[in-house]
């Protein structure tokens, strides 16, 4: 038994406490501490990645301790390929998020109306990281539930407490809107969580334990069809709020709009992934029959998310809201891939989670750099930026091209896998979803055109190009987008066996091609 998984989650948790304890006068020390802790966590995640054997057992690096004996709750950790990939993504993105948000929590120069606890900002980010990582690791349903819910608390403070500085209607209005967004985020997710809690208890009543590892050995507990369906819906509802799936998505644009760009990335690229991950791990594995029963409805909702999210992105005037709706469209793809129940669909969906994290981070963080220069989120306030800040414009374009899934960049691989995997079983849905690639090009290129091209606006003149710190954030993301677009094998190799397992859980086989072509 190793303690590697515990350590990977505990390190950022301890780091969070330590960062919070740094005295207020030593703001910079807190930042550096948080950055170093996040980098050390990345090292641990890399060790997990190396120690994980794709060809080995389903759950590896397992840890198991009794926790609440009376209730069968265990502290049980273990990772499969999907979890490893997502832990790596999380550990990878957090240092960039911290670095990008380096000045986001500095005290306001003027007015000093609100106290901005710099250490708190970075401590909260580390706390979220710890809870997200342990959610990916938990193989005990209850343990997962605790952290799935607990991460709402630091997220709530991050959204509500730290927004963009400038605001068109003044700090007062900004503060109100921020609080609204934060509470909406919290209540939506709590509502989902409460329903899930009922289902978690229900599951215990039926199964008598919470352990996925036990299920992997002994199979799914027997339960009546209707029970299974109700429990499935309880779990799925919570995950669909978090992912988010249409029509439960409306908290996301508010939350992403009001938080600073790094926190917006934390929400959409990291925290929301717990929702789609949990669909794969819990819904499909615990309730295989109900999952199949619900598939048609979920696919339709996912399809609506894809088209609806993209159309709404086209209509946005605020660039952060635009990215939020684009993400809703992308989450539609991920959920569609999961429930298409084909190897290509689910491998694609897992890959999509990773790639979407990287591409959204690239686009959103550069958007954040842009916003911090001009003090406005409104697309119409920009124009001609590429003339004054070509590197910023170039990286923004690459982030945008990744968002529209340009072949050669990572998201293309996953999006095409999801489409082909869906099409193989549900041709009509697959074809309609293909419309998403046209709409994605529309919202991305319109955003780029309006902000970066055309005559240089007076307010944009003299805007500095990317600084060294900002380049350090963006350049590795761009390199990764290109690398994983050309050579996704390192990720697919880890993910494929886990997908195969999941498909055998739901007893689904890939549709055979009509003609066995001569290879």
């Amino acid at each position: 038994m190793s303690f590697l998984l515990t350590a990977t989650a505990a390190l950022p948790a301890l780091g969070a406490i330590a960062t919070a304890a740094v005295p207020a006068a030593k703001r910079n020390a807190a930042k550096w501490l948080a950055l170093i802790v996040s980098l050390a966590t990345l090292v641990l995640a890399a060790i997990v990645l190396v120690r994980f054997d794709p060809g080995g057992d389903r759950y590896q690096l397992t840890e198991s301790h009794a926790w609440i004996k009376d209730f069968g709750v265990r502290y049980e950790l273990g990772v499969d390929g999907i979890a490893v990939a997502l832990i790596a993504l999380t550990a990878l993105l957090i240092p960039f998020i911290i670095l990008a948000g380096w000045h986001d929590a500095d005290p306001l120069e003027t007015g000093n109306k609100r106290w901005r606890p710099t250490q708190g900002f970075f401590a909260l980010i580390l706390a979220v990281e710890a809870m997200v990582i342990i959610s990916f690791e938990a193989t005990d349903v209850f343990l997962f539930y605790i952290f799935f819910e607990a991460m709402l608390i630091p997220m709530y403070f991050l959204i509500g407490g730290f927004g963009d500085r400038a605001h068109e209607h003044g700090e007062e209005a900004a503060s109100t809107q921020r609080s609204y967004a934060a509470v909406k985020f919290l209540l939506y997710n709590l509502a989902g969580g409460l329903i899930m809690l009922a289902a978690v208890i229900g599951f215990y009543v039926v199964a008598g334990h919470f352990s996925l590892q036990t299920i992997a050995e002994n199979g799914v507990p027997e339960m009546a069809t209707s029970t299974e369906r109700w429990l499935f819906l309880g779990f799925f509802f919570a995950f669909a709020v978090k992912a988010p799936l249409w029509p439960l998505h409306t908290w996301l644009p508010n939350a992403m709009q009001e938080s600073t760009a790094p926190v917006a990335v934390l929400i959409t690229a990291v925290v929301d992934k717990v929702g789609t991950f949990a669909m794969l791990r819990f819904c499909l594995q615990l309730f295989p029959e109900a999952s199949k029963w619900a598939t048609p409805a979920i696919l339709v909702l996912a399809l609506i998310s894809i088209i609806y999210g993209a159309l709404l992105a086209v209509g946005q005037r605020d660039m952060k809201r635009l990215v939020a709706y684009a993400s809703i469209s992308h989450f539609g793809f991920i959920i569609m891939g999961i429930f298409a129940m084909t190897s290509q669909g689910q491998s694609g969906a897992t890959l999509y989670m990773v790639n979407h994290g990287i591409s959204t981070a690239a686009l959103m963080l550069v958007a954040g750099f842009l916003i911090s220069r001009r003090g406005s989120r409104l697309i119409a306030d920009y124009g001609g930026v590429q003339k004054v800040a070509p590197v910023l414009a170039g990286t923004f374009l690459i982030g945008g091209l990744a968002t529209l899934s340009l072949p050669g960049l990572a998201p293309f691989v996953s999006e095409f896998l999801v489409l082909v995997g869906t099409f193989a079983r549900y041709p009509v849905i697959g074809i309609i979803a293909t419309l998403g690639i046209v709409l994605a090009a529309l919202y991305t290129l319109v955003l780029y055109q309006r902000t970066m091209t055309g005559p240089v606006k007076a307010e944009v003149e003299g805007m500095p190009d990317l600084r060294v710190r900002e380049l350090v954030v963006v350049a590795p993301l761009v390199v990764l987008l290109i690398f994983l677009g050309v050579y996704p094998k390192p990720v697919t190799d880890i993910v494929n066996p886990a997908v195969k397992q999941t498909l055998s859980d739901v007893q689904k086989q890939d549709p055979k091609p009509e003609v066995e072509a001569a290879k």
């Binding site: 109100t176 509470v183 709590l190 509502a191 491998s347 094998k489």
Partner: protein, 646 residues
């Protein structure tokens, strides 16, 4: 030899990477580096060609497997190349014409401060285009397909500060994305039908599936081809794409990228051969576009847009030929190659004219330039004779064969397609003579240079002094030499390919070839082709040669006015797609804000009083946030404790 294939792509790709990431240090040498790497790719192409030509016809195909790209259960996508005679033809065309245009651009872009970046984009284009024609499967082809689209987007919008250029670039990308939907769906259909999308296995197994499936795949490939090759109904982007620098128009929007649709259809010949309905659709698209482009070309006063209409029309010929099956494939590609010479030459000539005329593009403000720019005049003139099919020149051989093959399709269809192709030849002669006469002959209708601030359509980068009369002059050698080389190709290419049926023998092992039997003799077809050409030239001379050309365009007939507006297709797009889309998205934004948000909040209200709380928050009661927060946390903690207690 196989290992050289990847180098073909790698050389320009390296150039793109170095030039785009290199920073200002490379400004002084960037254009030389870009040109050298393009030329290196051409040299590798020639070496591979020499090797291929030395083998006997059946053993010329070679391949190179680099690595497994997307390894997922049941899904095999590789980064692997295939070099056969068809790919080889494209490789030589792309790298050959590409290198010439790199050289030309050294002069053309001399005064542009972002010249290094321009060469980076050109190199990126070459790499993507080579990937497109060298891929051994449809998914990798897709990467090249979108790669050239990206390069095209970047180059059309190269002068991004001009709103018209940025809009044109976006439009090109978007229209192409509609075509890409077709390519995506075609690949998905192949995957579900054959379990693979590699050329070899798919094209060998076409006999084992239904005609309906092949028709569906064929139509989707056609949709893709329509986007990339600017065929009706996805042609609207090409005219606007002329916003890009002229060398780009020559290389990407005339000689190479826009012909990718023809490549796609010819490459997928086995699919179309077994799907007559799809083939018919291909010929119809080709025939309609060849007339559409020609009519538009007659009405444009902007020299580049007239040439763009012509490009559309000439690709229409190629698509038409490709739809005819084995009697047409070879001629589609042959016309593609000869067109690559003469149209690239014509565009470079147009660029040279603009260079000497303060960047004026309106032909009504040219006139009498032959005396001032003799080299441009002669090379442009030879390109002109080639495109109208003057006997003995390139276009004569390749276009005549397509018209002959169209008649040979047989039945009523054959007569209609042949008739359209003949009519198109007449209109081609008309509009090209119009361009020639308005530019190089007649009186000098030059106008003083406009104020660049007031007329943003002026190409930046070249020094223009407002109010100054143009001083037409011949362009420097670095620009004229590529024009001369292309003129040589325009003159002799067709004859070289046709003597002893060289081109047919070269491509036959890949594309298959059947000899068509037109209902009228081949000689009669040739005679009529020449006759309609003479008529077209004559009519143009009556209107633009005998009479003076007015500097301000006359109002014109209804058809002329429609043709000036690209036969109203943009107006249709604007009203239906742009306006309709705006209304749709705006109403959706409203619906999302009120209805979806409202309903979800409302539903939740009935379950937990969520809505009431939310409304209060909106009203700004600060204390209620805290209450909500504590409420949430309390529930959470209580639940946990409860579990422990049970």
């Amino acid at each position: 030899m196989e290992n050289l294939i990847a180098l073909l792509v790698a050389a320009p790709l390296l150039g793109a990477a170095v030039l785009l990431c290199g920073g200002r240090r490379l400004d002084a040498v960037g254009h030389w580096l870009g040109t050298a790497l393009a030329a290196a790719s051409f040299v590798i192409g020639v070496v591979l060609f020499a090797d291929m030509a030395g083998k006997d016809a059946e053993h010329r195909e070679i391949g190179q497997h680099l690595f497994s790209w997307i390894p997922v259960e049941g899904f095999q996508a590789d980064v692997a190349f295939q070099l056969d005679q068809l790919s080889m033809t494209f490789v030589l065309l792309i790298t050959g014409v590409g290198s010439l245009i790199h050289v030309y651009s050294i002069g053309y872009m001399e005064h542009d401060e972002r010249r290094r970046r321009f060469f980076g984009y050109l190199n990126l284009f070459l790499a993507a285009m080579l990937l497109l024609v060298l891929a051994d499967n449809y998914l990798l082809l897709y990467v090249g397909w979108e790669g050239v689209g990206l390069a095209s987007y970047l180059l059309i919008g190269f002068w991004q500060h001009k709103p018209s250029a940025a809009t044109a670039a976006k439009k090109a990308f978007l229209v192409n994305r509609v075509g890409d939907m077709g390519l995506s769906i075609a690949i998905m259909l192949m995957f579900t039908t054959f379990g693979t999308f590699a050329f070899g296995p798919v094209l060998e197994s076409t006999g084992e599936t239904s005609e309906g499936m092949l028709t569906a795949i064929g139509l989707m490939l056609l949709l893709a081809a329509c986007g990339k090759s600017a065929q009706v109904p996805l042609q609207s982007w090409l005219g606007d794409a002329m916003e890009g620098p002229t060398p780009v128009s020559a290389l990407i929007h005339a000689a190479t990228m826009v012909t990718a649709g023809v490549y796609l259809i010819v490459r997928s010949g086995e699919i179309f051969n077994a799907a007559p309905d799809a083939q018919l659709a291909v010929t119809v698209v080709g025939a309609v576009t060849l007339l559409f482009g020609a009519i538009v070309g007659c009405a444009k006063d902007d020299i580049k847009k007239a040439l763009a209409g012509s490009t559309m029309s000439q690709i229409g010929y190629m698509i038409l030929a490709a739809g005819l099956g084995p009697i047409g494939y070879v001629f589609a590609i042959m016309h593609l190659v000869t067109h690559g010479f003469f149209k690239a030459g014509l565009f470079l000539g147009a660029g040279s004219v603009m260079h000497g005329m303060n960047d004026e593009v309106d032909m009504r403000k040219y006139g009498g330039l032959r005396k001032y720019m003799p080299v441009t005049f002669v090379t442009f003139g030879l390109g002109y004779l080639a495109i109208i099919g003057f006997p003995g020149l390139s276009g004569f051989f390749s276009k005549d064969k397509i018209i002959e093959a169209a008649f040979a399709k047989g039945g009523t269809e054959g007569w209609i397609l042949g008739g359209v192709a003949l009519l198109g030849a007449a209109i081609t002669a008309f509009y090209m003579t119009r361009v020639m006469l308005m530019t190089f002959f007649g009186e000098e209708r030059w106008q003083p240079a406009p104020d660049p601030d007031k007329a943003p359509s002026v190409e930046p980068g070249i020094e223009v002094h407002p109010g100054e009369m143009p001083h037409p002059h011949e362009s420097p050698k670095v620009m004229t030499i590529p024009m001369i080389v292309l003129a040589v190709g325009s003159v002799f290419g067709g004859a070289f390919f046709s003597i002893g049926d060289r081109f047919i023998h070269w491509l036959e092992p890949v594309t298959d070839h059947a000899h068509g039997h037109p209902p009228i003799s081949a000689l009669a077809v040739t005679m009529s082709t020449v006759a309609v050409m003479v008529i077209g030239v004559g009519l143009a001379w009556l209107q633009y040669g005998r009479r003076p050309v007015p500097v301000v365009a006359p109002r014109g007939s209804l058809l002329t006015r429609a043709a000036r507006r690209d036969l109203l297709q943009d107006d249709f797009n604007h009203v239906v797609l742009v306006r309709g889309g705006e209304h749709l998205t705006r109403s959706l934004v409203y619906v999302d804000h009120t209805l979806v948000d409202g309903v979800v909040n409302g539903t939740a209200a009935t379950m937990g009083g969520l809505s009431g709380r939310l409304r209060r928050i909106q009203n700004g009661y600060a204390r209620s946030y805290a209450v909500s927060m504590f409420g949430g946390a309390a529930i959470l903690i209580a639940a946990t404790l409860l579990m422990r207690a049970v």
